[in-house]
Symmetry: C2
Subunit: 383 residues, 2 copies
Amino acid sequence: MAVAMTTPRFQVTYRITPDDARPVEAHARDICIEETVEIPEDCIPEGHWKAGIIGNVESITERPGNPPAYDCVISYRTDITNNEIPNLLNVLFGNISIRRGIKITAIQFSAEQLAAFGGPRIGIEGIRKALNVHGRPLATTAIKPLGLSAKELAVMCGGYAAGGLDAIKDDHGLIDQHFHPFEERVSRIQEAITTANVRTGKATHYYPMVAGRFDQVERQVAFAKAQGCFGVLVAPFLIGPDTGFHLARKYGLAVMTHPTFSGTHFHDPRHGMTPAILLGTLFRLFGADISVFPNAGGRFTFSLAECQDLAHACRDPFGSLRGTFPSPAGGMTIEKVGAMLETFGNDTALLIGGALLRHSPDPEVSARAFVTALEKAVKERKP
Amino acid sequence: MAVAMTTPRFQVTYRITPDDARPVEAHARDICIEETVEIPEDCIPEGHWKAGIIGNVESITERPGNPPAYDCVISYRTDITNNEIPNLLNVLFGNISIRRGIKITAIQFSAEQLAAFGGPRIGIEGIRKALNVHGRPLATTAIKPLGLSAKELAVMCGGYAAGGLDAIKDDHGLIDQHFHPFEERVSRIQEAITTANVRTGKATHYYPMVAGRFDQVERQVAFAKAQGCFGVLVAPFLIGPDTGFHLARKYGLAVMTHPTFSGTHFHDPRHGMTPAILLGTLFRLFGADISVFPNAGGRFTFSLAECQDLAHACRDPFGSLRGTFPSPAGGMTIEKVGAMLETFGNDTALLIGGALLRHSPDPEVSARAFVTALEKAVKERKP
């Protein structure tokens, strides 16, 4: 059936690992229907085929290896996604998320889509400019643990800022618990960081975690803005894929994304989305300025290749979109700074959390050790 | 280390399938720390242990089978979840979603948590009362396909209502596309259903899909309410786990949940949450009056046992919470009505979508055939 190609389309590469004996073509066809009209093939109105409303299989390429797997490129009309995040995700990987053997490994967006979603509003260059930090990765941390008082967390942040860190984020488990209520925490911490910045002449940024209920989350973002925060920490799977990006844009704040509760996409090469697609391509498209991810060699399960692919998705040319800082984290240490620099290069936001607590009881000492190690590694790397 | 049990706690059963040679106790300990304080064990303040802020391993039971797997019950302080949906999900399965070999198979909530989240506001009995339908499953459908005009969809719905269906939902892919803009679609469809209801004396309900951006979704819910819709169709993974439940409660609407984009939880017995936990226990706790899921024997991959467990989670005693209608769907047909009744019993919302389109070009005829088959199956089942 000839498909009308007059209406703009975009392309998704699904790696299909058939879980039954049917030919791969049948599996690809299932995706085309399931993600659009979702009715039996013989009930699809003739006009729908002609108008290209059903997904269209553009190519199928067998991959080497066993079990047999295939890269299937399927195109969709862009207008069925309405250029909105919930709708786009539903077309990309809605009901088919509940079928086995389908992994998204690449997406080719149209220029119109890139313009509509817009990508990072600040991006790598904007953050570097605001920090006045060039020629090296950023040194960032997460403040922990849950259950300290807001005062204690603020003292810790003041020390980290004094020690020269570029950005400090809340641990993503710090939400609005009574130990450290959101507003008290954010105002005390931003104040402590601002005080340190005045002293050092630097511009350490703070990203508080915003993860309130639907009726709380905008107030939290507005509050962060009013306190002078540079950005917010957003977990799209906790508050909704659109919510945090939308609010950060509305209030002119940078977005640092966190992958919590998204991990079932990544365990199996046959199911879900790759880390590069979900935490790289999509989060960048939606507006992440920094994308935190669990680095290889830490407490989590991403491979080195997956992490590097993710970093590429954050920084490689992507239409006219700004770049996103990849932020490897999750069990990183000061000793690993050199290796991380080798792996990810300069345009990276290195995140060391718990290991700074362990390095010294004085956060300023820990921060300085981190920044010093980083500057040393950059210097030694250059010829 | 003795844990203070004076602060209320709740219990989560994680099925752990160790992915390395460490003993299961080490894996369980990892979860306790990762989901709470998220710092190296030797950095945890003494007072945190005493206060029970870290997760506590209550029991570990080996499961029969190979590879070795263990049911580990871990308790958490309820106050670290703040009784809010984003925060609860983050404690249950936040960062550990990115670790392999962890599946949530049971959760024991405290009475305080059940009261705080509240469960369905209408529930099985409330929906039956509003419909005046007793002693048989509900007959429901989804209107499709994406790409018809709002007028065509409204004619279809008028027919389905005239034919006696109890509830009609939008296909979850009908969002706000130009083919059928949200407001035009909802007003035309509700009008067609109301007109049919006046004629039949029945009370067919309509659940429009609400999946707009953060700044659109409340307006959509309010519009559905103003048009007289009984409920809304909500996909928690598209708009955020809290969003739809919160708004439906605010506007006094029933909630039908849809599992789109959640499916990576279900592919592997080693990772994610079971369908019963995510689409049953949690969606019910959060307020689902009807939970749609892909039935065994259709286009998707749930086993019969998984579907029955899910139905139990929807309806079994759960503190004082109301029951949720389990709604098996995804490739169901009129011919399967008897078998579905046997499998799921009366308190079920049977959902037949595409097969009604195929049954007859006249939706009224299809709907009547569905309801007739259902009534016949119920009659024949009774002695």
